[in-house]
Point group: C2
Chain length 178, copies 2
């Protein structure tokens, strides 16, 4: 499921590359004397970094590493995450949660026909003292009913409670509580 | 010699912290409408990142990791490095070079009485197809003659050729060819 074992140097190389793109954007605005746009780009970088810091502070290093490196690997979608404020949760099994995400992302990879720059959105929040996550994909799928079936199977675990909240023509929204 | 085993999450946390400081600096200039200063700060960030990328591209991941994480550990000095353009070298033993730097930095740590924000400068270059480095410290030292002796001992290795180029009252300049 895991594409590769990331080394520190690999991670820094990719992070630096992303970081350079962000800085180049700011430089571009400055060259055009667009000071407000430059400030907004800087704010956007800070928001991203704060989200990443929150992810790293959940006490789940395996999951954090997986999420941060995901978009540097070859997948059919981009992964986006948002961590709601004030998540105070009991201890969660990092490995179990990481494996769950690996499985569900792997299913999505198999049922998305080709990469088109679309995102899978994940939103972490607290629900009755436990970690909860919403996972959403809004796009075309290959053999959608088989995917739904496989997701339902994956959710049949004692270690979590999950359900498919919505699944219309395109949209799939899953909520899982660990 | 190595202070800790760095995890990917630790490294990202520290790198993110440094980047945030850099971005805050740009934001500060933008808030004061100092567009040239903001652009210069952005350029400075890019120069740092290019140097780090060059370090990572030397094919010596152990040394690169050590240099990049060094200033995140507790030492008596800050480590600065510069990689000259166009270093094309034969294969160098990464472990051997990393151990050499660990030893020499550890010696310096022991002979600098206290942290005062001063840098040890290292400059990598190519010399007759081999990797060479200059290491320079300009500051006070405790038991300086003992330090010189220990550095000379360290340089007595078949795997490298090194000498102390200059050592006056304060300054120590060492050149090593691997």
């Amino acid at each position: 499921m895991k594409e590769k074992d990331w080394t520190i140097i690999d991670v820094l190389r990719h992070a630096r590359h992303d970081w350079m793109n962000d800085i180049q954007l700011i430089k571009g605005f400055l060259a055009l004397n667009k000071i407000d746009e430059a400030a907004r780009a800087a704010d956007h970088i800070i928001v991203k970094a704060v989200q990443e810091a929150k992810l790293c502070n959940l006490g789940m290093p395996g999951m954090a590493e997986m999420f941060i490196t995901f978009n540097w690997e070859k997948h059919k979608f981009l992964l986006e995450f948002e961590i709601n404020d004030e998540i105070v949760i009991e201890k969660v099994d990092d490995q179990l949660v990481t494996r769950f995400f690996q499985s569900i992302f792997s299913l999505l990879d198999r049922h998305i026909s080709q990469y088109s720059g679309q995102h899978v959105y994940t939103e972490f929040f607290e629900k009755e003292g436990r970690l909860a996550v919403r996972i959403e994909w809004d796009g075309e799928l290959v053999d959608r009913s088989r995917l739904i079936e496989q997701i339902l199977q994956l959710l049949q675990s004692d270690a979590m409670y999950g359900e498919i909240m919505k699944s219309d023509d395109q949209d799939i929204l899953i909520e899982v509580n660990f």
